[in-house]
């Protein structure tokens, strides 16, 4: 959810280039303030790291408590305990199915929609884009109550495809916006040759534009995937049966049942659930050569 709205189109932001150390007038006062700033930065970094550090260390400590302390007998017992079909494996597989389907649908639909928006001057193109931009800002949480009631009427509650379609629809506004700006970057001249040879718009989209903007489409897909993976509220409201629940919901149930005692196992489960997201972030940022900040990803 956060990531969906967090990808800010048009913050005017691009990636900071590596700056040479700026020339400083070395005065004692300046050095003193430098030390102060460094100290503040260090404190902030520690404060941000400590809560997460607990998660990692507790997962390796079979006798974990709620405070950060080095395990006496570190081991993988916690992971062994939660790595069962019912506890983690099926929920994680459910998450994978839900998020992968939603991402595929989103990328496909967004690419199709972005093509006319990018290539033709549509009479209603601008109002449509304004509406899309407006929709990216609407609080998704607020729609969940009417969505539930609508789903109840349409017999879609507790169906996987209903949830997938909803997840896809809610990530569409930002996806269309991103895909259009990626597509704007593909020079139209490349298509003109194809048009002269009699290719249709859809043919040139498939064989010329899509291959050139594949990296952009992948970024959109990964973004959608990460957002859906972390989304708790939507499956919590729309899915009911135990065997369909994704990890986001089952980890909450686990917290309710065992959270007050088996801290180490909760930490291990949390890490297993977090791992795919971290890997995807790492892949995307490495692959875009570090040029992947939120603003930068948006700018394309």
């Amino acid at each position: 959810m956060a990531a969906a709205t967090s990808t800010a189109p048009g913050t005017g932001a691009t990636v900071p280039p590596a700056r040479p150390p700026r020339p400083t007038v070395a005065s004692p006062r300046r050095r003193a303030s430098d030390v102060l700033v460094t100290a503040v930065l260090a404190v902030v970094a520690v404060l941000f790291a400590v809560p997460l550090l607990w998660l990692v260390i507790a997962s390796l400590d079979p006798a974990a408590s709620l405070q950060l302390s080095l395990p006496e007998e570190p081991g993988l017992d916690n992971f062994a305990a939660v790595l069962t079909v019912d506890t983690t494996l099926r929920p994680l597989l459910n998450s994978l199915v839900l998020c992968l389907s939603a991402s595929l649908i989103t990328v496909l639909v967004a690419t199709l929609a972005a093509y006319p928006l990018s290539r033709y001057q549509l009479r209603y193109g601008r109002p449509f884009l304004y509406t899309i931009l407006f929709a990216t800002g609407l609080p998704l949480t607020a729609v969940m109550v009417p969505v539930y009631s609508l789903f109840a009427r349409m017999d879609l509650v507790d169906t996987r495809y209903g949830t997938v379609l909803f997840l896809a629809a809610t990530s569409l506004p930002i996806a269309i916006w991103l895909t259009k700006s990626f597509m704007d970057g593909v020079p139209i001249q490349l298509e003109e040759a194809a048009w002269t040879d009699g290719a249709s718009a859809m043919q040139s989209l498939r064989s010329i534009v899509a291959p050139l903007m594949l990296p952009g489409m992948l970024v959109v897909g990964i973004f959608t995937f990460i957002t859906a993976w972390g989304n708790f509220f939507v499956p919590f409201v729309l899915l009911l049966s135990e065997e369909k629940l994704p990890a986001a919901v089952t980890i909450y149930q686990f917290f309710g049942q065992y959270g007050a005692a088996a801290y180490g196992q909760l930490a291990a489960y949390s890490l297993l659930y977090t791992l795919p997201v971290v890997v995807l972030y790492a892949v995307v940022s490495r692959w875009l050569g570090g040029a992947f900040t939120l603003g930068g990803g948006v700018k394309g």
Partner: protein
């Protein structure tokens, strides 16, 4: 931005050597562009616009999950909204939502993000990585995991209390004594990376010669910040404020897991009140009326967002 502008700029230029057939006519026959847009429009209409319209209708009814009103929903006019205005729980939630948004987004994430970006300016890449890595890590972690982590951190037996007592300060049960502060802190931790990245990017585009000139002219660090740097990133500040407000307005999972709105209703913001009314008390109509309030506030900020950035983007 540049990408969009470049293409806009180059589009009207005549194709070199291209005949009239070299580009599709400006106005396509409707079917040609309607078809690829159709799936998006249908999905958005059914699953996005549909629920919004539906919520407006629903908020005028006594729709319920259980009981007689579940089978026989009837139109109740403005009853839900009248009830809303007279409901102390709603006013409590509005106040708490304002505290949460101002405390964690406007002051917390925005202020800390700007401060971090300013402090990181001109520092070596090692310092940058050492600071941005933990800040980014907090942002990447799924919301529910962030909630667990802070539940543990603020617990009476958690790391914070251990650290406080070890230096002789009294610890306390943060989630019970100051629940709204607890969720504000957790949300600052979770969201600061976003503001920091926006400001790092904005600051990297501020030309350094203006700042250097002011320095030569003898302006102090504080004065340069106030009269040179901040005015130059004013737009980024405005955009960031709107975005973090929109994100924070709809935070549900973090609070739901950490305090569930409690104890009592001491941390029950609008999204939690909406959930409680609609799904725990089964009053769908009333829950929807609360959702509409949230939606309306979000819509106002979203319009501000479009005004701030939309004009030059499309």
């Amino acid at each position: 931005m540049s990408v969009v502008e470049t293409r806009r700029g180059s589009a009207p230029a005549p194709a070199p050597g291209g005949g009239p057939a070299a580009r599709p006519p400006r106005r396509q026959p409707a079917g040609r562009w309607l078809l690829p847009l159709a799936p998006a429009v249908v999905l958005l209409a059914v699953f996005f616009a549909g629920p919004v319209v539906w919520s407006v209708l629903l908020s005028f009814t006594d729709a319920s999950l259980t009981g007689s009103a579940a089978a026989q929903t009837s139109f109740v006019g403005l009853d839900n909204f009248a009830q809303l205005l007279g409901d102390p729980a709603v006013w409590n939630a509005v106040v708490l939502t304002v505290v949460f948004v101002v405390g964690s987004a406007v002051i917390g994430q925005n202020g800390l993000g700007l401060a971090l970006a300013l402090m990181l300016r001109g520092r070596g890449s090692v310092t940058r990585s050492l600071v941005t890595l933990p800040v980014m890590a907090a942002y990447v972690v799924p919301e529910i995991v962030a909630a667990f982590v802070w539940y543990a951190f603020l617990n009476p037996e958690g790391t914070l209390n251990t650290a406080l007592t070890s230096v002789g300060l009294p610890g306390q049960s943060w989630l019970f004594t100051v629940p709204i502060l607890a969720v504000v802190l957790a949300n600052i931790w979770r969201g600061t990376a976003f503001s920091m990245l926006i400001y790092l990017a904005a600051l990297s585009q501020v030309p350094s010669d203006v700042d250097e000139q002011a320095q030569i002219d003898g302006a102090s660090g504080w004065k340069r910040l106030r009269f040179v740097t901040i005015p130059m990133i004013r737009r980024a500040i405005g955009t960031n404020l709107v975005l973090v407000t929109l994100q924070t307005l709809q935070v549900f999972t973090l609070i739901f897991v950490m305090t569930a709105g409690g104890p009592g209703d001491a941390s029950e913001t609008l999204p939690l009140l909406m959930y409680e009314q609609a799904f725990q008390y089964a009053a769908l109509g009333y829950g929807t009326a609360i959702a509409l309030v949230l939606l309306a506030i979000g819509a106002v900020f979203s319009l501000g967002y479009i005004r701030a950035i939309g004009k030059e983007e499309i």
